[in-house]
């Protein structure tokens, strides 16, 4: 039988199963911890750092930290809120995020978290990098301008033989996602739709599916991200 553990998040008493990752355990207890790279059920990597919390006074990522008994977690303190805002702002300043014409606008998780934290302008100067758009794949377009390098597509999208369709290429500030052209040409429409869906931003787009939902009916138009979890 799974062992139950008691812990607190922002002094609220919580209960979950030992070893469960903090992001999921918090969700079970009606507490939202923002994340852009995590997908429940897939080995977390702690790539985006947005879920940074304080566990017993030390900064750590909630998506990679399993819960244990008597753990004391700080989640929504002003310090952590500002830290998360700074991470979001860095992402906006680092890429080319033109929300007004982005197909993903309204359904975009980066945008939704920025709305939740009421981000207006980044404290960092915009870098306006020159990046490519790969439109040569039959079902997908890959817009590197919007990619936040969260690794979701690398971790979650495999072909039927388990081969990765997406992979990291180059290093450091030149790091980019490369798409396997051979595999992208034989990708099923369902898999392509899944890849576009799990992309937290508008970096992987399904061709011919743009602007289907009118403004007002998109995922994050009316309610902030995370409110579906919160009690």
């Amino acid at each position: 039988m799974n062992e139950l553990v008691n812990f607190t998040i922002d002094k609220k008493e919580c209960m979950s199963t030992k070893g469960k990752y903090l992001v999921d355990a918090a969700a079970e207890n009606g507490i939202y911890i923002p994340t852009l790279c995590n997908i429940t059920g897939i080995q977390p990597r702690g790539a985006c750092r947005l879920c940074t919390v304080k566990v017993n006074g030390k900064l750590t990522t909630a998506c990679t930290t399993p819960v244990y008994n008597n753990m004391e977690v700080e989640n929504e303190s002003p310090e952590l809120q500002d830290l998360r805002k700074s991470i979001i702002e860095l992402m906006f300043a680092d890429g080319n995020h033109y929300c007004p014409y982005c197909e993903k606008s309204g359904d975009c998780e980066l945008q939704a978290i920025a709305y939740r934290y009421r981000v207006t302008v980044p404290r960092f100067p915009y870098s306006f990098p020159k990046r490519e758009i790969e439109a040569g794949h039959p079902l997908l377009a890959k817009d590197h301008n919007r990619c936040i390098l969260c690794k979701r597509c690398i971790k979650a999208v495999k072909d039927d033989d388990g081969r990765s369709i997406f992979a990291f290429a180059r290093r450091s500030h030149k790091l980019t996602i490369s798409v396997d052209t051979r595999l992208s040409h034989v990708m099923s429409p369902e898999k392509a739709a899944y890849a576009a869906e799990i992309c937290p931003v508008g970096a992987i787009l399904l061709k011919g599916a743009a602007f289907k939902k009118p403004i007002g009916e998109r995922k994050y138009d009316k309610k902030p991200i995370g409110t579906e979890l919160e009690m």
Binding site: F92, N96, H97, Y98, C99, P100, Y101, C102, S105, G106, Q111, A114, Y115, R118, T120, V121, P125, Y126, F128, P129, K130, R131, I215, D221, K222, K223, P224
Partner: protein, 190 residues
């Protein structure tokens, strides 16, 4: 003491459109009949709405639409900063460059050649291949800059355009010195 000027006379608002499309000004008009209330609360100085061309007195709130793409935009923005107590960036272009900043990935030469030599709309009508260049014309900046990277901006109203309800909420809060309602459904970047 800070509010005494508000008691004596109405706060003064000035607005301008730099590298923008006037959509934010249209959204301001979208407050509909509330514009009559706004006219009761404030006086307008320089603005495309009343066609006053120059700032003529100290302004309380300067609303800036659009980012800075040329030397004239920078001059107007600095003139606003010098004459306005508070500056407000209105809309995505003022806040991040917006659609005009799409040119930031290209060189100025590429932009001008596309506009005057290569685009389908100029085929057959610019046979001498002239790219306008005159001392009278503002000089293009190397890229389009958001306003807060040129001068200090005090408040930001996001949106493309900002929803009329958000504009109304922020403007009335600034004018009356109250807290904005901060409604989630009108805080948007698109």
């Amino acid at each position: 003491m800070k509010n005494s000027s508000h008691i004596k006379s109405k706060p003064v608002i000035a607005t301008t459109s730099l590298a923008g499309c006037f959509g934010c000004h249209m959204s301001l008009l979208d407050i509909d009949e509330r514009i009559l209330q706004l006219a009761e609360l404030v006086e307008f100085d320089k603005s495309p709405i009343n066609d006053i061309k120059k700032i003529s007195r100290p302004v309380d709130f300067g609303l800036i639409e659009g980012g800075c793409c040329n030397s004239e935009n920078v001059e107007v923005l600095r003139h606003f900063r010098d004459n306005c107590k508070y500056l407000v960036s209105v809309g995505e272009c003022a806040m991040m460059g917006g659609l005009p900043a799409m040119r930031n990935q290209l060189s100025i030469r590429e932009c001008l050649e596309e506009a005057y030599l290569n685009s389908p709309s100029v085929q057959g009508c610019n046979e001498e291949g002239i790219i306008p260049s005159d001392d009278e014309l503002p000089i293009l900046l190397n890229k389009v800059y958001p306003c807060h990277e040129i001068v200090k901006i005090d408040y930001f109203i996001p949106g493309c355009p900002p929803r009329a309800d958000l504009l109304w909420d922020v403007l009335t809060s600034l004018i009356l010195g109250t807290s904005p309602k901060d409604q989630y459904s009108v805080f948007k970047y698109d």
